[in-house]
């Protein structure tokens, strides 16, 4: 979307697929210039490390808020009435069990590279759940799709903005709310001896760029800095592309047509 706006402003834009964390390597050397989506929740450490080198610049928030949490489909509420409170999880651990994890429940976490401290969380909150890590987001949602088709129990890591919480009906588990202390200070929270006895942090999604962008393309730099979209707008667009199978370019063009004033403001016209 940003790319199309920049094109309207007369820039050439080349889209490159890059791995989430590996992209920082490219941003540092200037091979990649802009990354529009760095999540507070998973990319923060890598981003801080990169900005500290002085070769990557943080261009501010995108306006979207990232949510990541344990998630269950709505039909599980009938089988486990105490949800979404996390304390109810232990009562229905067996509902969520599979032959491999029995009698413990099974929680499908994200790829190990996403971090998220789910193993620690399960231990700190004394949840009777075994944390199984999916290898990729594709595997993660493949399991969700499969379980949803069969209306089978499943508890997994879901994040927003994403098409999954739009397509499937469900809720986040309500853990004790995240604070920085909870992660750093073992004495905080329910479990006095361990950290991570709370939910996951929620936070803004950032934009970052190669530090050279400012001098090389000042116009683009300020335009990207001005870029803002809300969760709802983004969610609707993601759903249109991924769920309704609309063409990505068409969806972006539609947004551009409907919000001309917004993006004209970004590029200063």
């Amino acid at each position: 979307m940003m790319g199309e706006v920049l094109k309207k402003a007369g820039y050439n834009v080349e889209y490159v697929q890059a791995d989430y964390i590996a992209q920082f390597a490219g941003l540092k050397t200037g091979d990649l210039h802009v990354a529009m989506e760095i999540w507070e929740t998973t990319g923060r450490d890598a981003m801080d490390e990169a900005t500290a080198t002085g070769r990557v610049e943080n261009l501010g928030e995108t306006g979207m808020m990232a949510i990541e949490e344990w998630w269950y489909p709505a039909y599980m509420k009938e089988r486990c009435p105490g949800l979404p409170n996390w304390e109810a999880l232990n009562d229905c651990a067996e509902e969520f069990a599979t032959p491999e994890t029995d009698p413990n429940g099974r929680y499908l976490g994200g790829p190990v590279t996403w971090g998220g401290f789910d193993d620690e969380r399960a231990e700190a909150l004394e949840l009777d759940f075994e944390v199984v890590h999916a290898g990729t987001d594709a595997a993660l949602f493949a399991e969700l799709e499969s379980a949803y088709q069969r209306q089978a129990p499943i508890l997994l890591w879901v994040y927003a903005p994403h098409w999954a919480p739009i397509k499937y009906e469900g809720e986040w588990i309500e853990f004790p709310e995240y604070t920085a202390d909870c992660y750093n200070d073992p004495s905080w929270g329910v479990n006095p001896d361990m950290a991570y006895d709370c939910g996951k942090p929620r936070g803004p999604i950032w934009k970052v760029s190669w530090a050279g962008v400012k001098d090389k393309w000042p116009g683009a730099h300020s335009a990207i800095q001005a870029f803002r979209v809300s969760n709802d707008e983004m969610g609707a667009m993601v759903a249109a592309v991924d769920l309704e199978g609309k063409d990505l370019d068409a969806v972006v063009a539609e947004w551009l047509a409907n919000n001309e004033d917004t993006w004209k403001g970004w590029i200063g016209q």
């Binding site: 094109k7 697929q17 964390i21 390597a25 091979d31 590279t113 949602f141 799709e145």
Partner: protein
Amino acid sequence: MSRLEQLGLSRNAMLWLLLFVVTFVLAQVSKDLAKEMDARWLMKVPRDLRIPMRGDISDFMSWLVESASFGLFTFTELTRSISWLIEQPYDFVRALVIEGFVRGQGNEAVQVLPSLSWLAVAFVVAAMGHYAGSWRLAIFVGLCFLYLAVFGQWDSAMVTLSSILIAVPFGVVGGLLLGIAGYRWPWFDRLMTPVLDLMQTVPIFAYLVPILFLFGFGPVSALIATVIYAMPPMVRVTTLALHNVPSEIREFGKMVGCTRRQMTWRVLVPSALPSLMVGVNQVIMLSLNMVIIASMIGAGGLGYDVLTSLRRLDIGAGLEAGVAIVVLAIALDRLSQAFANRPPPEHSERQLNALQRHPWLVTCLAVVLGTGLVGLLLPAVQQYPAGAEITTGAFWENLVRYINVNFFDQLEAVKTFMLVNFMVPVKRFLLGLPWPWVLLLITFAGWQLGGIRLALLCCALTLFILVNGLWAKAMTTVYLCGVSVIIACIIGIPIGILAAENDRANRIVQAFIDTLQTLPSFVYLIPVVMLFRVGDFSAMIAVVLYALAPAVRYAAHGIRSIDPQLIEAGIVSGCTRRQLLLRIKLPLALPEIMLGINQTIMLALSMLVITALVGTRDLGQEVYIALTKADTGRGIVAGVSVACIAIIADRLIAAAALRKKRRLGLA
């Protein structure tokens, strides 16, 4: 004479039996024993023994990227200029087949020249089919490309095709030069052999990060990774083919007074051409295998379509893009094979004009120009009309849903049975072994099968894994790979035997395994996860599907290449069909089957890295984590560990097969 020998066991077999029993007992008791004796170092490699190579490699890499210099220019500048050089022809081909030539900035960009129309591209490949082979081939190749257009894969397929068109010449020329160098200087050959082994066995994910650092993000890095992966067979084939040129031809070259250069390029290379084309064919196929991985670092094309469709669980679209890769691969494979087998051109005395000499070239030019001009007026000629595209996506989606809803419980039962009775015990067994014993056992096996040099090699490679602290992950790798190979052999070898005995079965089996090998594994990985959940079992199924092909192929080949006189002799002495198979064919085909198992192991190992995408905890995962964290050292150390396992298995099995062959009097 002991009892056992009376039972018909040779001394050698007894030794192995004894070793196995000891190993088995150790696997059961050593964990408790180690606890009892307070000797945890037996199970876990002590920290003092570890040499953290990964830090050093990472440091070296950042030095290379940031400060290495040749005085006039830095190392990074050198690699960047190489990638610039590769980018030029790539951009040109891409513009030619798909994007058109553009000038200008942003939205004001104007197309100077349109790309080739889809009709023109399809016509040109069909013409090549006729030129190299026959009308049948021309129609077949044309239909393949028509499929791409009808199923709406055209644009992506052309992006993929253009990267193949660039990667293959680089791979072929590079491989040819290295191969010739290896032929000319034996020391260079000896130097290259281990390097080639590593290039073929280190998973691509492991060296993607350094390539990204050096050559930048984007299609060029993907191209370079593809070339590294696809080149080794070309080098090997070249050296072998040159050695196999009949000495008469070489003598003849000497007689007419060739210089060294003339000898190489005018005599040796042309006469080795048919064998060299086999290498070219391999390079094309391997390049297509890389399509998915290349698309992870920005190559785009069909691989990218497969990835994105599966990420949004659009199984149908993913499958169609995957099949498009298969179709492209088959078309290119048949074309290059036809070029390899083309009879030499006939020399005619008659003077011909340009049209008569190059009928196809002229027609192709005419078609290209014609469709280009008509395309300006009629868009359907330039670009296949979107309205006429068809898709079977919904069908596949519903099929998986149907199986999932109706048969999940049965599948789950099978899976649990396999896990409990087979996979988990094997895992326990392997992870329960103390490492010094395994080290000893591997070294001993090397010594028994191939002498002291093999023993030293095996010992050194095992030590590499040990000192890098990857023991547990390596054993998990061995477990997953071992289990998959066993199952692949149980399924594959009987199919191979069937294919060897029955011609019709053979054709069906061939088509089936060709498809399995070129279909990107990601396509079936996601449905497998839907049906079997994340975990070892799903990974195993994916590995078995991928590694099945060589088990089938080598078994069939082994049985077919038995000397028919031996079979005659069996029939004359009154064997039943069953006896013929069990007593004569199978034992004689055994060395060949062992080589097939060897290849199965290699493929299984290369696939393990991809199964990390569904969440395994082995070396593949280690490589994958390193990739996502851009940790060069970690990736390379884990990748080389995978290569170590592969090389140990390869050398041991090859040595065993050789011994067997000698004993059967075949070698």
